[in-house]
């Protein structure tokens, strides 16, 4: 069985992201420089330089190509991906499952909501998270 793989995206470029604790110790991490995705995103050069500078600071391999093609070719036993709400980023991983098992890992929580009902305006939301927002780690256990 091939080892697991961490595939970072542009919204989770740090070594302290929980994904590095969730994945088995020593799991290889990559960032795919996906030309087609970046071209569609229509980022200016300054955005791309900022991302690349950040990648140079990280212990990840930067590989160029189509995300799905690269990941599938590596046939990892499990693919770990940081959670995101950006549909464009999500689309890069479309079609990878079920051939490759996928584990989407949430980032650290900023604040815990006291009630799960949706807050449509900010101060409705704030009234539900205020207590947690003032606490170290949002009040979560270390």
């Amino acid at each position: 069985m091939n080892p697991a793989l961490i595939c970072l995206h542009e919204g989770a470029l740090r070594i302290t992201h929980p994904i590095f604790n969730v994945a088995p110790i020593g799991t290889k991490a990559i960032y795919v420089w996906d030309d087609e995705y970046l071209r569609r995103a229509n980022y200016s050069l300054k955005r791309l330089v900022f991302i690349y500078e950040t990648l140079c600071d990280l212990p990840v391999d930067v590989v160029r190509g189509d995300t799905r093609t690269i990941v599938v070719a590596m046939t990892p036993s499990m693919l770990y991906v940081p959670a995101t709400n950006n549909p464009s980023i999500l689309s890069k991983f479309a079609g990878i499952t079920p051939a490759t098992p996928l584990n989407v890992v949430d980032d650290d929580v900023f604040a815990v909501m006291e009630k799960t009902t949706e807050a449509r305006r900010f101060f409705q939301y704030w009234s539900k998270v205020e207590k947690s927002a003032f606490l170290h780690n949002g009040g979560a256990p270390a």
Partner: protein, 263 residues
């Protein structure tokens, strides 16, 4: 599969390398550098108490952390924990924590409603319907040649640095949507192209807030407001900012005539 290099002699060679990877990408690099080390330097400079008092001013103690937060180089949790360690009493940093919370709020909303990224959440409250707004940004806006001095200064900063003060972003958004009657979606796309912290949730939902498709009323500003908060940073003389030089009542009547008629 091509493994890309990560070691460069200097920033210029890194920029040249990225430009060769993406020949379609316009412009040059920002003076704002990516990477964890840059993020930690910025974080060390944060004064969360002064931020609360001065954040709306062009020369206020803003943090510049948003590009690092957007890319996950810093987490909201980490920034909050750092701020808590830099104050006497947590209540002193309420405004700072609320600004972090705004980002968390936008993220939660987009996760629950992915379609809100580009669809109007509510109708415009301007007396106009969506079809009354242009779908494309005029070239004078994208080029920073509107003839409104403070707006052009903010646009040039956006193009050159990929970072604009949050208050100035609201001016720009309001100018695009309400003074020029362009759909907020066109402006949001423009910001996402340039902003180093261009985040689908924070950016697009903030544009909807200014446009009034996700708020009770449209966000308007005038020259007096720009002068109060950015008078030391940009040209705010009436002669070079004519369209903005009016009272809120006058602007409301000029920009939203259908609302006046319906009263």
């Amino acid at each position: 599969m091509q493994l890309l290099q990560k070691n460069f002699d200097n920033r210029e060679s890194l920029t040249d390398f990225v430009a060769a990877l993406a020949p379609w990408a316009a412009g040059g690099p920002s003076h704002i550098q990516g990477g964890r080390q840059s993020a930690e330097k910025m974080l060390a400079r944060v004064d969360p108490v002064a931020y609360g008092r001065t954040r709306n001013f062009g020369d206020g103690k803003i943090t510049g952390l948003s590009p690092y937060i957007h890319h996950g180089i810093l987490s909201l949790n980490e920034v909050r924990n750092h701020a808590l360690s830099r104050c006497g009493e947590p209540v002193q940093i309420t405004k700072f924590l609320q600004e972090l919370a705004w980002r968390d709020f936008w993220q939660r909303l987009l996760s629950a409603h992915p379609e809100w990224a580009w669809d109007d959440i509510e109708p415009y409250k301007t007396g106009f319907s969506a079809c009354d707004y242009a779908g494309v940004l005029p070239a004078d806006i994208t080029d920073g040649n509107t003839g409104v001095a403070c707006i052009d200064a903010f646009i040039k900063e956006l193009i050159q640095t990929g970072y604009v003060h949050n208050h100035a972003r609201m001016y720009l958004a309001s100018y695009v949507v309400h003074f020029r009657r362009v759909k907020w979606q066109a402006g949001a796309q423009w910001f996402l192209h340039h902003l180093l912290d261009g985040d689908l949730a924070s950016n697009n939902l903030s544009w909807q807030w200014v446009a009034s498709t996700f708020s009770h009323k449209a966000y308007l500003f005038n020259l007096e407001n720009v002068s109060k908060y950015f008078g030391g940073q940009v040209d705010t003389s009436p002669q070079t900012n004519q369209p903005l030089h009016a009272s809120y009542e006058t602007l409301q009547e000029q920009l939203f005539p259908n609302l006046s008629r319906s009263l």
